[in-house]
Symmetry: C2
Subunit: 193 residues, 2 copies
DNA sequence: TACTTAAATAGACTGCAGTCTATAAATTAT
DNA sequence: ATAATTTATAGACTGCAGTCTATTTAAGTA
């Protein structure tokens, strides 16, 4: 059903894509997001247009490169098992805090780009923000089904509070420690039931 | 003890400052933050350097102009009176949501600038974010003193959750309605005591 | 072999924020 | 008056992301 290249014209050079992503993430980690496009394409050994054939903006390239580094994957909480959902939430938050603590500067910059560029905003939220929101919403719904939190509460709003606290504390340089993760889970599950 | 100009050299033209702020807020509301510096100084009828003698960046000028519009002032909750603190919190949140809803686009852009430019970041947080955080922290401490919420909880963390939810929902274009304000207050005061 | 098509390249170009330079203007001090 | 000092002005300049143009290259098709 696939696998027939059926392609007319000069084929895309995949090596250029990976070289660009590698150069981008390396230089951004070295020099920060402010590194110039020119520096990136020179390090990758490709022309300017080749970059813009693949990504619309520097931000999209860097986001892709960032994901390729793959320490951004969140392990979905195990809702099959029997662990208290409060504990699963705390574990999830600790894990996300870890990612944010190791790449906070870059995440801040990408968030900023997302506010400025509507095209990138869509990409950033679809690829980064929404999947994480879904994980927490599912976890909280499951907790409601198990009667660990009140079914009348709104999982989406609670997710706003949790991820909101995460971003807010990142933006204002407040610490994101394991203790904070546990306290946040505690706030949501406060009172039991 | 003051009022002696005691000033050597050509005096600063205050009219230029107000003309710049007026031109800035007008053009930003008309065309968005992307309006050029050149357009702003031409509308104000001053030279480029005159702007940079007064503000370090476009963002600082726009922030000043934004504050001058003054619909950004939050009325501090009345902690002398006897109203339930849950109600005071809901009123505060409704008011802030109102400001955010009328100038969300601009606030998003200023937040983005704050992430990119450390100098502006400091200014933005000192003038905009911190005062609001203080108001909520004071309100929650007062609620603890009145035994309306558990004294063991951390007002700073609850403030992260509340303002975090506000910014998060602004950033991802989720609505900030009066109902949401009330629900957020309800989440914090859930269970009474 | 020619022809068509898509991708790659070098490098010029645009529009922007912010800096710098040289000069003029407005004020106090001598 | 003259000097010293600070602000204002016009406009050139820098460095950047992203676009555009002309040309070349690598593939499929006739």
């Amino acid at each position: 059903m696939a696998d027939e290249p059926k392609h007319v014209g000069r084929p895309k050079n995949e090596a250029a894509s990976t070289a660009l992503k590698q150069a981008a993430i390396m230089l951004v980690r070295e020099q920060g997001y402010g590194v110039s496009i020119t520096a990136i394409i020179e390090a990758a050994g490709v022309s300017r247009q080749t970059l813009y054939n693949r990504w619309a903006t520097k931000a999209e390239l860097v986001l892709d490169a960032f994901f390729e580094q793959a320490q951004t994957q969140v392990s979905t909480p195990d809702l099959e098992g029997d662990a208290p959902r409060r504990r699963l939430l705390a574990i999830y938050l600790r894990e996300v805090f870890g990612h944010v603590n190791s790449d906070g500067e870059l995440l801040r910059t990408l968030l900023a780009e997302a506010q400025i560029d509507p095209g990138f905003r869509k990409v950033f939220f679809e690829r980064f923000v929404s999947p994480r929101a879904e994980i927490v919403i599912d976890l909280l719904r499951d907790a409601q089904a198990r009667n660990e939190i009140d079914a009348a509460r709104d999982p989406e709003l609670m997710t706003s509070m949790l991820h909101g606290a995460l971003w807010y504390r990142l933006l204002i340089d407040q610490p994101l420690t394991d203790d904070i993760a546990d306290e946040l889970a505690g706030e949501i599950f406060r009172g039991g039931r």
